[in-house]
């Protein structure tokens, strides 16, 4: 019974931030769309004010026109209204579509990553076209009816004989692969003139070819296992490029035929569609595509080689193995396998941006995948500038100082940093709340600017036999937090730069679909906006002029991205350059020149614009360059994109290219802009949940089970889910019909804080080993108070009635009312099992039950359940899995209320009122139970083979791993307290079938005999039915 309370209470974790009580939702309706956006109840001048109105209005203008163009191109004209939800509670990139539900959700502020990965795009136009292309192409290509297409059709078998369990599950779903769906969305949005093959996309593919990291056919199609760095982006761009290549060879109509054939019938091997349409296998086509791609890349590289590459070296203070000229090292490196090569090369960082020195040369800093790395390291320590590996003995002192003065600051992924001139201080952007622990109603994922004090302390060290006091930075996280101070008024800000006098900070700040340039003092006072765009224009990458009167930045507006300069005293801004290239990451050097990156002729390089307007190309890279800065010694630091990450590179000043390319930066050619046709009638009204339900998601279930007592039980049922677009209300239901009949429904309401769930269920059937039928009904309500993403407090009230057939009527056996109060913390999901995948969670539950039936009694119970998975000290995929569960009841209870212990099969189907067994696989599920129960478990999980990504027909196997361990515990009632002990060994296979989870495994468990259970050896087999 308590299991139901637990299950429903956990729903509180999924509370949507976008249903924060501060937000009022509105709707703009066009002919084909309902666009929902939030507005804060606060005043517009409040720092926490948020609005998606500007974004929604822009969408409303272009949506129907985009719809018509896509419908004409793809050849499908949906009747249904499409819901678009604009999120303002996050500054992270979010954008997804659930096609069967005609539901598109995206964040108004995508952050900076997408532009860097894809090149300049209008976020709103691109997002709409891409997601709508998903809707259209998946509708056209879908084999399953749309409702069933949400989750597929679950088919399976579970055979239980009391000791052993065999499970087999196949979920039929649309087998169209990930590369196709994403590639199609990119391709068809290009066909309507929104998307285009940007130099950034080309850079991704070019570097992948150069680094031998194009996805294999097996990797390409399985989204679940795209888990290596940049695999996801490679899948997008490989899919997109393949679409363009295929269309150039066979025409767009061939893609339309692929979609039609895909929807016509189910195929075990979806790739067979290509045989039907063009007479070639996908493998053959992919080989031909990759051959053409390699030739294209070779031609691009030949062009660079002809002029002589100017790329410099990756920043490192030791010789990197893959760059070594030493014959032994070269041979040693060449013998390494691809996985080790990838791992080693990625270990130097996969997102290194904004490498720069403080003006006095004391500090070096850069962005490293969400952390700011600060070091006290002379330029001469980098091999890129030293010309050779710095001598270890000569640099011993320097290295020791670097070690003491290094610190890693938490920041937002890909946030910029800038040092405060004249002070030991740096400014960067991080997520709100980094500077303090905060417990309260859930917060949004907004960014904020921080000042970080780098003033060193002192540390006593042993020095030549004596002791000395040296400068030192405390790098531990909690100490770092104390060094951070949020700058007031900078919520949703990025790209900070500090003025030469160290008094002011310039930054970009997001507001309602646009990003503008703002300046303020470092304490947040005297805040002034230098640009005032409200049309979706996007400013990024600020830097101050040496005299402190101007700020340079990149501005994307009217489908062009150029450098602009804002005059701080007057508060006006004007374009510095107007050309057809994308310029970004400006750096204003002390000599008055502006360094920046631009995609001239399709490759991102670093350029220098002199005060007189002349422009020189300073690098000649083969992949792509961005984020330049100039060191005090005049050397260039920049980020070079490679197949193994965005790497920090350095080029000595004497090696720079200095190609005069002033004439390439002339005025832009005529830009053929897409002029959207404004929608006809647009209606605006407050959000109406009851009129905004998305389509039904239904997952039919077909099962054949064999129970302990030999009954063969066919079951047909479905899981149903429907919600309104903003998820104020979510209705879920499950039913099945078989030898037992069951219906269960839940209504979750996320309208207020707290979240409220109401649920009920009804079951009729026989329990195993019982001749008579039973009828069990439940109903209840849970109120959950989520404090943070991972902490929730909840109160639940549950009613439970169990009736047993006797002669010609159902007589009540037991009825209970349970009031529970619980607290849950942690990010692990599967509490009370040995199958926790990751993270840690603990749940404390206090309940009071009143039961009436054969006897009437009241009881109180306290429960603790915790699961922890931690990496072992030696890492490398090894982990400790620990779980503990304790339940104490203040009096003997009916069997229905007792605490059960045993190992269930992951594919077991139980009604919601069946409380979950405390996991102990050495005993059959529900084999032992008692008034009290306590179980502790420890297991060692270790990999046997990782990153396999091998396809066996439609199944892709990714990883094999094992888990060995055991549990010790007891259940006790009165004086009976048998010792329960088991040992468990499992082999697990992480796999995917048609891109959906198809995890399999085999488990052997031995349970020691005791007075309640004979114990013995049990095994459990799962083929596709989970761990």
């Amino acid at each position: 019974m308590v299991g139901l309370v637990l299950g429903v209470a956990f729903a509180g974790r999924y509370a949507m931030d976008h249903n924060h009580p501060d937000l009022r939702w509105h709707t703009v309706e066009t002919e084909h769309f309902a666009i929902h956006y939030p507005e804060s109840r606060k005043r517009p001048d409040h720092p926490r004010w948020a609005s998606g109105k500007g974004t929604a209005d822009r969408l409303a203008v272009i949506a129907d026109d985009t719809w018509l163009r896509l419908a004409s191109e793809v050849g499908v004209f949906p009747n249904e209204r499409i819901h678009i939800v604009v999120l303002e509670d996050t500054d992270r990139l979010r954008g997804f579509t659930l096609t069967p539900q005609d539901w598109i959700v995206f964040s108004g502020n995508p952050g900076p990553e997408l532009a860097r990965m894809r090149g300049r795009v209008d976020w709103v136009e691109d997002l709409l076209a891409h997601e709508l292309a998903h809707v259209f192409t998946l509708k056209k290509a879908g084999w399953l009816a749309e409702a069933a297409g949400s989750f597929g059709v679950e088919t399976g078998v579970l055979v239980e004989d009391g000791a052993n369990q065999w499970g087999f599950e196949v979920d039929l779903s649309d087998p169209s692969p990930h590369w196709w769906s994403e590639g199609a969305a990119e391709f068809w949005s290009e066909r309507i003139g929104v998307n285009w093959w940007t130099p950034a996309r080309d850079m991704t593919l070019r570097a992948s070819v150069m680094g031998g990291r194009l996805l294999t056919e097996d990797e390409w199609g399985t989204e679940r296992f795209l888990d290596d760095w940049y695999d996801g982006e490679r899948a997008y761009q490989q899919g997109y490029a393949f679409h363009r290549w295929f269309a150039a060879r066979y025409g767009d109509e061939a893609w339309r035929r692929v979609m039609d054939r895909s929807s016509a019938r189910f195929r075990l091997d979806w790739d067979g569609v290509f045989e039907e349409v063009v007479g070639e296998s996908l493998a053959t086509l992919k080989d031909a595509f990759e051959a053409d791609l390699a030739a294209e890349v070779e031609a691009q590289l030949a062009s660079v080689r002809a002029r002589g590459p100017v790329e410099g070296e990756e920043l490192s203070t030791w010789e990197l193995s893959w760059t070594s000229q030493d014959p032994w090292t070269r041979d040693w490196w060449a013998a390494k396998g691809p996985a080790e090569v990838e791992s080693k090369r990625e270990s130097t960082g996969t997102l290194n941006l904004y490498a720069r020195y403080s003006p006095d040369g004391k500090w070096f800093g850069r962005q490293r995948s969400g952390w700011i790395e600060i070091r006290a390291l002379d330029e001469g320590m980098w091999t890129a500038f030293a010309g050779e590996v710095p001598d270890y003995d000569l640099t011993h002192e320097q290295r020791a100082r670097d070690s003491r003065m290094s610190v890693w600051l938490p920041s937002r992924y890909s946030a910029a940093l800038d040092f405060v001139p004249g002070r030991d201080e740096v400014v960067t952007a991080g997520w709100e709340g980094l500077d303090r622990v905060r417990l309260g109603p859930r917060k949004w994922q907004w960014t904020q600017l921080y000042r970080v004090d780098l003033t060193p302390g002192t540390e006593r060290v042993r020095d030549h036999g004596g002791r000395a006091e040296v400068e030192s930075l405390e790098g531990r996280h909690e100490r770092v937090r104390r060094r951070m101070t949020a700058i007031p008024g900078t919520l949703r800000a990025m790209d900070p730069s500090v003025s030469p006098d160290g008094e002011w900070v310039a930054y970009t700040q997001y507001r309602d679909g646009s990003s503008n340039v703002v300046v303020s003092r470092l304490d947040g006072s005297e805040r002034r906006e230098l640009t005032h765009h409200t049309d979706g224009s996007w400013a990024s990458g600020t830097d101050w002029s040496p005299d402190g009167t101007q700020v340079v930045f990149a501005l994307h507006t009217d489908h062009q991205q150029n450098l602009w300069v804002a005059d701080v005293p007057s508060g006006t801004a004007s374009p510095l350059m107007r050309d057809r290239w994308e310029e970004l990451d400006p750096w204003w050097a002390d000599d008055g020149s502006i360094w920046f990156a631009a995609d001239v002729d399709g490759v991102y390089d670093i350029f220098r614009r002199a005060p007189d307007g002349r422009v020189h190309q300073m690098t000649r890279v083969t992949t792509g360059a961005c984020s330049p800065s100039v060191t005090p010694d005049g050397n260039l630091l920049y980020t070079r994109f490679t197949a193994f990450g965005w790497k920090s590179y350095g080029i000595p000043r004497w090696m720079l290219a200095w190609d005069d390319v002033t004439d390439r930066f002339g005025p832009p050619e005529e830009v053929s802009e897409r002029v959207p046709v404004a929608s006809g009638e647009v209606r605006r009204h407050p959000y109406r949940p009851a009129r905004s339900f998305t389509g039904l998601a239904a997952s039919p279930m077909i099962r054949l089970d064999r129970a302990f007592d030999g009954r063969v039980i066919p079951r047909l049922g479905a899981f149903l889910k429907v919600r309104d677009a903003v998820e104020v209300n979510t209705l879920t239901g499950q039913f099945w019909l078989g030898s037992d009949a069951y219906a269960q429904g839940t209504w979750e309401m996320h309208r207020f804080w707290p979240d409220v769930s109401v649920y009920g269920s009804h079951w009729v059937g026989r329990r195993t080993g019982d001749d008579a039928r039973r009828m069990i009904s439940t109903g209840g309500v849970t109120v959950a108070f989520p404090f943070t993403e991972d902490v929730a407090f909840d109160v639940g009230l549950l009613g439970f009635t169990s009736r047993r057939e006797s002669d010609d009527r159902y007589g009540r056996v037991l009825s209970s009312r349970v009031l529970s109060v619980g607290l849950r913390a942690g990010d692990a999901w599967d509490l009370r099992t040995s199958n926790t995948q990751r993270g840690a969670a603990v749940r404390v539950l206090l309940s009071r039950g009143d039961s009436a039936g054969e006897q009437t009694y009241a009881y109180h119970r306290a429960e603790w359940a915790s699961d922890v998975v931690v990496d072992t000290a030696w890492g490398n995929g090894h982990a400790w899995v620990m779980n503990a569960a304790i339940g104490l009841t203040d009096r003997p209870v009916h069997a229905e209320d007792a605490l059960p212990v045993g190992g269930d099969h992951p594919y077991a189907l139980r009604p919601a009122w069946v409380q979950r067994s405390i996991e102990m696989p050495g005993y059959a599920p529900y084999a032992v139970s008692g008034q009290h129960a306590g179980v502790g478990g420890l297991a060692w999980r270790f990999p046997l083979a990782r990153d396999l990504d091998n396809a066996i027909g439609p199944v892709v196997v990714n990883e094999l791993f094992a888990q060995v361990g055991g549990h010790l515990g007891t259940v006790w009632t009165g004086s009976s307290a048998p010792v329960l002990a088991d040992g468990v060994a499992e082999l697990r296979i992480a796999a995917a079938l048609w891109d959906a989870r198809w995890d399999s495994g085999i488990r052997f468990a031995y349970g020691a005999p005791n007075e309640l259970d004979p114990g013995g050896l049990r095994f459990s087999v799962s083929v596709g039915s989970g761990f």
Binding site: E80, A690, L696
Partner: protein
């Protein structure tokens, strides 16, 4: 709650999914399998009156008390994918005779799969596989006063091949069906009976006249012997024993009329008489009550 979910989804425009397949508006153009993306809900009532039963020699034997049964059946079909549908149904019965008994009967869950389809001339062949799920009461026997079983007790397997062929305004339908009844020991308490495996053939001709389709049909059924268990502990302990001489065959004739009110709404009326029988003790209701019955039924179907 489930109804609320369905209602909310229907309100949300679930019925206008653009990717669903077309559904012809007339019966003589409809394939056996419900087109992809369509949902059908059927509610039907059958009233059966049996004043006699068939003897082992095929003679009509009057019953002391006529058996009347009223069965309300709810069925759902859903077109999951091209050429594939899922269906389920559950009857609720009120039977009066020697006793009054009400409750759920034998539900069915299964799928239909298209084996062949031709547009012109219209032809459709489909395979049906269903599990018969004994939700209802299965204890008792005819020998136990006051209790009659409403279901066969264990999951049965039914397989059928349907074929229909259109010819101008005519539609010819045939169906060959086999039911295998698993004989387990499950649910036994007061004794239990289990009809034997059966095979049947149906033929029907419908004339399509505008929105109305009507015509005659006939059904021939052959059954293997009944098995039964003795009541009470110490009897046969639930093991079903074959009842010698209980096999038999029967023929029913009847007709039905379909009225298409719209593409998505139709009514069906039907009549059926049992004209030939032999030791046909176990017939519909089902499958457990004696009948030389006449049955009248009416169904309403809604598709969206």
């Amino acid at each position: 709650m489930i109804a609320l979910v369905l209602f909310a989804s229907a309100w949300a425009g679930f019925g206008v999914r653009s990717s669903r397949e077309p559904l012809p508006s007339r019966e003589n153009e409809r394939s056996i399998v419900l087109p992809k993306g369509w949902t059908e809900l059927e509610v039907g009532v059958d009233h059966s009156v049996a004043a006699a039963a068939w003897s082992s020699r095929g003679r009509s034997v009057p019953l002391d008390v006529p058996w009347r049964t009223d069965t309300v059946q709810v069925g759902v079909r859903y077109g999951v994918a091209p050429g594939w549908e899922l269906f389920g149904s559950l009857p609720w019965t009120r039977a009066t005779g020697y006793v009054l008994q009400t409750g759920f009967g034998t539900g069915e869950i299964g799928g239909r799969f298209a084996l062949h389809r031709n547009e012109a001339p219209f032809g459709s062949v489909g395979l049906e596989v269903a599990g018969r799920v004994p939700v209802g009461f299965d204890g008792g026997s005819l020998e136990v006063p006051g209790r009659v079983p409403l279901t066969t007790g264990t999951g049965d397997l039914r397989m059928a091949v349907d074929a229909r062929r259109g010819m101008d305004g005519l539609l010819f339908l045939t169906r060959v069906e086999a039911v295998h009844r698993f004989a387990g020991r499950v649910g036994w308490r007061d004794g239990r009976v289990k009809p034997g495996d059966q095979g049947s053939v149906d033929v029907e001709v419908l004339v399509q006249a505008g929105p109305l389709a009507l015509g005659p049909g006939a059904r021939a059924v052959g059954r293997l012997a009944v098995r039964a268990a003795d009541p009470g502990p110490g009897g046969s302990e639930g093991a079903l024993q074959r009842v010698d001489g209980s096999a038999g065959a029967s023929v029913d004739v009847g007709g039905r009329a379909l009225l298409h009110l719209t593409r998505g709404v139709e009514l069906e009326g039907r009549l059926r008489w049992s004209v030939v029988g032999e030791d046909d003790t176990f017939v519909r209701l089902d499958e457990v009550h004696p009948a030389k019955a006449r049955v009248a039924g009416l169904s309403a179907r809604v598709r969206w």
